[in-house]
């Protein structure tokens, strides 16, 4: 069966809707379904992420008048344009220097998560470890409240209070 929208690709997503007793069917290919907001595309390649990144950035001209003054990292001198071409960053400081610009890409790549949870180097000072834990717990608490899992939320709140 062909996709109803593009009339080209094979329809793989079939939607049946019943409104006021009237039944309607839609048969779409994956791409058109994504555009219609019916299917969620969850697997993004780094190149797709990068294309998205450039598209959301104001162009150099808008920002600085000319591209010679594009923001570059003082440690490794990489610019955002170079990053989108190479797909890898130049040094660990880039995450601070381009924090604002990288945020949407990081969110997209990591299922809207933006704060580390998990292993922390054993040499990290105790106070820093505590802060990392607290941030992660607060993030979980927000998610629990949003999904109305109040039992979990209460548990998390207790944990947070204990840590503080």
């Amino acid at each position: 069966m062909q996709c109803q929208i593009c009339q080209k690709k094979e329809a793989t997503i079939h939607l049946t809707e019943i409104t006021d007793g009237v039944r309607s069917e839609m048969h779409l290919c994956e791409l058109c379904a994504q555009e219609e907001g019916i299917a969620v595309k969850s697997q993004l390649s780094i190149n797709e992420l990068l294309t998205g990144l450039l598209a959301t950035q104001p162009s150099d001209d808008e920002l600085f008048g000319d591209s010679e003054h594009e923001l570059s990292c003082p440690h490794c001198s990489i610019t955002l344009t170079q990053f989108t071409k190479e797909a890898v960053l130049g040094c660990p400081y880039d995450y601070e220097v381009f924090e604002k610009q990288l945020q949407p890409l990081i969110e997209k790549a990591h299922n809207s998560k933006t704060v580390h949870r998990g292993k922390v180097p054993s040499k990290t000072p105790k106070e820093t470890k505590k802060q990392i834990n607290l941030t992660a717990l607060r993030q979980q608490l927000d998610a629990a409240v949003q999904s109305e899992d109040y039992e979990l939320a209460a548990k998390l709140r207790d944990e947070i209070n204990q840590l503080k």
Partner: protein
């Protein structure tokens, strides 16, 4: 270590033992790490890369792993040897054919490798047969701890371990499970599996063969998200939810074949056997495709007691017309999967061969293994 020491046999993780090894070929965890105080590799000079390499090599070679460890300078290793390491899943294609000073540390039993100067300064990998992700996690964490005692990693409280590509940020963990799913393919349900995996945000790749195509019904399933979810959570997700469910589906498909379409199953197995025992030219793609069906038949016999006419015949094959059965085991088939890959063929016969000559040798090896 010379690669010819290991190229004649399968890796320990491919010996067919391990939990759920009929469907789950292997479990792998890798961690991406970078040294504090250095730029990422794309911005490092050759001298800086060499410095990082020396530093990490020293630390890694002094690790107590309970196994002999060896170091290879990948940039000074012949192309065929690099191919072989890719075929054995010891290093990535990116590492094998990249640029600049880079190396690999390999444990003799091949459960552990560390790539130095791949995309990140350090990529640790632990690989085990069957579904053993927790065990991989414990081991790789211990190794990571030992390294961390002697060096500072680039780490930020907010983003975790800092990686050259933001897609690996956070824990830097990639959990990969290699699966053999021939029955899902035969019953036309593999697309469902692929779509469901993608909906869960997992990446699916082929295991053997070139590029991403899943040759021989082998699939590799990996996580994509590494930030905001702990190592233990990712591992638990795979080990307790995702993989057991897929294994259940594959088993259901195998039962469905047995009960509803035994002729379809027998046809595939018999054809595979006939071709493999008689062909004089066989490409690696065709070999993978056909061996996959034999692997299914033997596994169904061993694990489910299946005994269709073709499976019975497969398991009672005799050597050279004699009455003595060959006792084809999963290990025999796994060996053929591994040893008939292009670089393995060439290294084991001691000379370079073009594709046409490889097809001859491959067919010869398979014929002799299956005819006795």
């Amino acid at each position: 270590m010379k690669l010819t020491d290991i190229s004649g046999d399968i890796n320990e993780w491919f010996d067919g033992s391990g939990p759920l090894a009929d469907i789950v070929i292997s479990s792998r965890i890798r961690l991406a790490r970078n040294l504090a105080g250095y730029k990422f590799l794309s911005r490092c000079s050759v001298a800086e890369k060499s410095e990082i390499l020396d530093k990490l090599k020293d630390i890694l070679m002094s690790l107590e792993l309970g196994d002999k460890i060896s170091y290879l300078s990948v940039d000074k290793t012949p192309a065929l040897d690099r191919h072989l390491m890719v075929e054995r899943h010891l290093i990535s294609r990116h590492h094998a054919f990249g640029k600049g000073p880079r190396g690999v540390v390999i444990a003799q039993r091949e459960f552990f490798t560390a790539m130095i100067n791949e995309e990140d300064h350090l990529r640790l990998q632990v690989l085990k047969g069957g579904l053993q992700l927790s065990q991989c996690a414990v081991q790789i964490n211990r190794i990571d701890d030992m390294i961390e005692e002697r060096i500072d990693y680039a780490f930020s409280p907010r983003y975790g371990y800092l990686t050259a590509c933001p897609t690996n940020l956070g824990t830097g963990i990639r959990v990969s499970v290699m699966l053999h799913l021939p029955a899902l393919k035969m019953t036309g349900q593999i697309e469902k599996f692929l779509n469901a995996s993608r909906d869960m945000g997992l990446a699916v790749r082929g295991l053997f063969g070139e590029g991403t195509e899943a040759a021989g019904d082998f699939y590799q399933l990996s996580n994509q998200v590494s930030l905001g979810i702990s190592e233990a959570e990712v591992v638990a997700q795979f080990e307790n939810a995702i993989i057991p469910e897929i294994v259940e589906y594959e088993n259901a498909a195998r039962n469905q074949l047995l009960s509803k379409e035994p002729d379809v199953l027998d046809d595939k197995i018999s054809r595979a056997m006939a071709l493999l025992r008689n062909a004089h030219l066989i490409s690696s793609q065709e070999a993978l495709f056909l061996l996959s069906h034999l692997r299914l038949g033997i596994n169904m016999h061993e694990r489910m007691g299946a005994s269709t006419p073709a499976i019975e015949k497969l398991c009672k094959i005799s050597a050279g017309g004699a009455d003595k059965p060959l006792n084809l085991s999963i290990t025999t088939i796994n060996r053929l999967f591994m040893l008939t890959q292009p670089a393995h063929l060439q290294l084991n016969c001691g000379k370079t061969l073009d594709a046409a000559h490889r097809d001859v040798l491959r067919a010869q090896i398979i014929r002799s293994a299956l005819n006795g």
